[in-house]
Amino acid sequence: MNGSDGTTTLARGGRVWRLAATGAALAVLGYGTVAGDDDLFPLGPMVQYAFSIPPDGEIHSLFLEADTAAGARVEVPIEPQYVGIRRAELEGQLGRFIRRPELLQQLAEAHARLRPHDPRLTALHVMTKVVTLRNRVPDRTYAQERVSWVVR
């Protein structure tokens, strides 16, 4: 079986560096898992859906509303092809955007470049949809404005 597949065994040096690389990667991944956070990507903890929501807790999700030059208030999807950023990314940086609302200017500019045929956005309102749960089942829904910005 060896003939057509070349040599079967690796030279000692080949085994040593492979084990060393494996060990180093696993060590960082282990540290990331036990003590690290997302900053260690790609070797951080696997935190997808790792947070707990109490059975009577609240579900928060962001959405973006905008006033347009046409005088309407519309919902703008928080997607890269609309405003250059994903919803989860805006959520991950929400504190930063609340402290510095002027960062929203770039979202409006991205929208103008990415959707040139849509009406211009004159003001952005970052909203949170809050769903309250009762025994893991949605009970009540309402919206809250988190930060807004008048487009320059």
Binding site: L10, R15, T33, P45, G84, I85, R86, R113, V137
Partner: protein
């Protein structure tokens, strides 16, 4: 001890499994860059949202720019297609590994890190280590690394759920949260079945914890184990549009891919296969 460890990490594998895995991974990559990490294209519009993760800071990597992103895309795709064709496995392979890692860092440095890329990035770094005629141990190590990354993604996410969510995680409402935010028609339907999402949380936590069993399974049981996790990803895709495809394609490292493309394996080939010590 050292002997057993070495035997496990270097359990010989058919180099043809790596050949097939290479084709799957490299041909998948352009799709991933357009569909799953395609936010990088949008990030060229939002420079102020660049919040580089540690590795990007250490390497002083610039954020997504209107020249950089198309250039990086072109380099990675050309190198990936070259490597998929079996040409320059080392040079093209490492170019893809480094270029795609930069791409992934750009995708994850704007406020949200995804966790479905560990196995894919691992595969990209180990595949170029297997050269034509490189031998069955070299192939075995590469296959093993991808398998370990796949299982680590499951097992460590079970650990993370307890670390971040606490022991109350399986009794919480995390799946209701997921369906509320991004549920499909099917997801909303399942959410309406009393307690189904609650039981599903227990099921997933237990399955992720048990995932290292994949290393112990052989033959039909291994296929069943792989099929179980494929089914899990299919359901999360159908209910909350989370597909984990970059990870799913790496699940195939558990399968005897070397049998693909072999025309009608005769009894001799089948016997040879059953006698080999593949890390199935």
């Amino acid at each position: 001890m050292g002997g057993a460890l070495t035997r496990w990490w270097f359990a010989p594998a058919d180099p043809r499994r790596v050949t097939v895995l290479r084709r799957i991974v490299y041909l998948f990559l352009p799709l991933d860059m357009l569909l799953f990490t395609g936010s990088v294209l949008g990030h060229t519009q939002t420079a102020s949202a660049y919040q580089p993760v540690l590795l990007a800071r250490l390497l002083h990597l610039p954020g997504a720019g209107p020249v950089l992103v198309p250039a990086l895309f072109a380099v990675v795709v050309v190198a990936a297609l070259t490597a998929a064709a079996g040409r320059l496995p080392r040079a093209a392979g490492y170019t893809v590994a480094a270029g795609y890692l930069y791409w992934a860092l750009l995708a994850m440095s704007y406020g949200k890190v995804d966790h479905d890329h560990l196995a894919l990035i691992t595969a990209l770094w180990v595949l170029p280590t297997v050269t034509p005629g490189g031998g069955r141990q070299a192939a075995g190590w590469a296959v093993r690394c991808v398998q370990v990354a796949v299982v680590a993604t499951y097992f460590l996410s079970a650990y993370a759920k307890i670390r971040w969510g606490g022991w109350e995680w399986p009794n919480g409402a995390t799946f209701a949260w997921a369906v509320s935010r991004r549920g499909t028609f099917l997801g909303v339907f399942f959410a309406g079945v009393p307690n189904l999402l609650w039981f599903a949380q227990w099921g997933i936590l237990l399955a992720e914890t048990a995932s290292p069993v994949l290393f112990l399974l052989r033959g039909r049981w291994l296929y069943a184990g792989v099929a179980f996790f494929l089914g899990f990803h299919l359901i999360t895709w159908a209910t909350i549009t989370i597909h984990f495809l970059p990870h799913v394609i790496c699940l195939t490292a558990f399968l005897p891919l070397e049998r693909l493309g072999r025309r009608g394996p005769g009894p001799a080939a089948a016997r040879q296969f059953s006698e080999s010590a593949l890390p199935l």
